[in-house]
């Protein structure tokens, strides 16, 4: 056999004849190349940006884990009724099991009452809560699912997107007080008995040992260990929201109108959606998209999907303008 690997003046060159018999390999279409390149480049940039932010998160993790152990009383509930489904896992995420922590590798697994999970440095996870909201955990965060609408945030940072109306809110118990959402998007960061609340949409109430503090859309509240509240503003498009956007559960847009994607991207990026004209709006409702945007951040998904349509967008402050493409 080995002899046949070489050219033989009096015999067939088997390597050559096989390659010739097979013919040329299939070349992927240019538009497929471009589209996958756009998506992969977005994933690459997201990944490298996340790694740059890891050092800061490690410091935050150390501080919050040390503080929280002094403050929490725990009653170990067993895993029971399902309260959430794991939508996406990035990096190191662990689930408590039998008194220890085990890596969570399986997306789409369900979490019951009493489930405890934590993200390590560089890790993050998105949960689809059974009430319909999206709960996202940044790196160095630990939570326990106490019930269908009750979550214990021991440390770290969570983001909740709950489109529900008043009365459908979720409650977050923390060492620094209890936060209740009132149909909203917000971020909650807990380090020891200090708390930071950022409200992107709607309203959030924080109950701190009977002291009620309310945060409204566009507000950031920092509540220190003594209960002092410092208010400041935060834009709905601030870069601080980007980690949560990265984890946004992508809708299935295959076979759906472009308007579905535009609505989702606008909401996830904290922007108002504005169509250049009624014609453009009507166009967005009729252009049908094909493909999937799983694991793409909202704006990257929009870049990829609109590239195949005659629509384009521009970001003007807190508005996403949609218009017909000026040149193809």
């Amino acid at each position: 056999m080995e002899q046949q690997s070489q050219d033989h003046p009096n015999g067939p060159d088997l390597v050559a004849s096989l390659i010739r018999a097979a013919g040329r390999r299939i070349e992927p279409p240019a538009d497929a190349y471009q589209r996958v390149l756009t998506a992969a480049t977005a994933a690459f940039r997201e990944k490298t940006a996340k790694r740059r932010g890891r050092t800061w998160m490690l410091v935050a993790a150390a501080a919050s884990v040390a503080a929280v152990t002094l403050l929490l009383q725990w009653n170990g509930t067993s895993t029971q009724a399902q309260v959430a489904t794991v939508a996406r896992v990035i990096g190191s995420v662990e689930l408590e099991s039998g008194g220890g922590w085990k890596p969570m590798t399986e997306a789409r697994s369900s979490l019951g009452t009493g489930a405890r999970l934590r993200t390590l440095a560089g890790g993050s996870v998105a949960l689809a809560l059974d009430g319909g909201a999206s709960l996202r955990l940044a790196a160095a965060t630990e939570v326990e699912m106490e019930g269908p609408r009750r979550i214990l945030l021991r440390s770290g940072t969570i983001y909740l997107d709950n489109k529900g109306s008043v009365g459908t809110g979720y409650q977050f118990e923390t060492p620094a007080g209890t936060a209740r959402d009132v149909g909203t998007q917000f971020e909650l960061y807990v380090a020891g008995s200090a708390l930071r609340l950022r409200v992107r949409e709607g309203r959030v109430e924080v109950d701190r040992a009977g002291q009620l503090v309310t945060g409204s859309a566009g507000e950031q509240l920092e509540i220190d260990v003594l209960g002092s509240v410092v208010r400041s503003t935060i834009a709905t498009t601030d870069a601080a929201w980007q980690w949560a956007e990265t984890l946004a559960p992508a809708p299935d847009i295959d076979g759906k109108p472009a308007a579905v994607l535009l609505d989702w991207v606008a909401r996830e990026t904290g922007r108002k959606l504005h169509y250049e004209s009624a014609t453009v709006e009507s166009r967005a409702a009729t252009v049908i998209l094909h493909g999937n945007i799983r694991h793409l951040a909202p704006l990257a998904a929009l870049d990829v999907m609109l590239a195949t349509t005659d629509l384009e967008y521009a970001l003007n402050g807190d508005t996403m303008e949609v218009r017909t493409r000026t040149e193809l």
Binding site: M1, E2, Q4, S5, P12, L14, V15, A16, S17, L18, I19, R20, A21, A22, G23, R24, R25, I26, E27, P28, P29, A32, Y33, R35, V36, L37, A39, A40, T41, A43, F44, K47, T48, R51, R52, I90, G91, G122, H290, G291, N292, R294, H295, L296, V304
Partner: protein
Amino acid sequence: MADLVHVDRAVARRILGGDEAAFRELFDRFFPRLYRFALARVGGDPDTAQDIVQETFCNAIERLDSYRGEAALYTWFCQICRNAIADHYRRRQTGSERFVLLEDQPDVRAILEALAAPTDDEPDTGAWRQQVHRVVEATLDALPGRYGEVLEWKYLDGESVVEIARRLELGPKAAESLLTRARTAFHAAISELAVASDELTGALGRSPG
């Protein structure tokens, strides 16, 4: 192989360090190969193949920290691509319609039987050609570096060693040496299939020239 993995580890490190040129180089090297890999496993549906390759790149980049260099980086990408294909079928709940390729089957004898399929009264059928095409394509795609391209330039485009040397900005001696290594690697890969059965020799002998 050890050298290849060493280089691949370095490439992964550069990408994780934010080197966009390294990322782009890897993308250009892997995209056509992974596209063909996926296309063959989704029944030739180009849209699905594109979606799967997109998902493969996004997942692989996301998990690149976990690449330890136990296998070549392309092999590692292929495993992620296989998982994406499995997820695709799971989502569609059409597992029974999955396309199982001969080269994915643990029993390589099946490949050999396919290669040997043409009989005297059925020479060179379309199905046989397709099997040869698929096996050779997969083998060329699995070769390291630019071996696959070099072999195509030589045997499909009929380029001389001097022309290949010019393309690769190498001296003629280096190009000849590269071509020899590419031929040896290709033959070794095909021969691995042959180890399972002596029938391959006969099958290769019957390949249309």
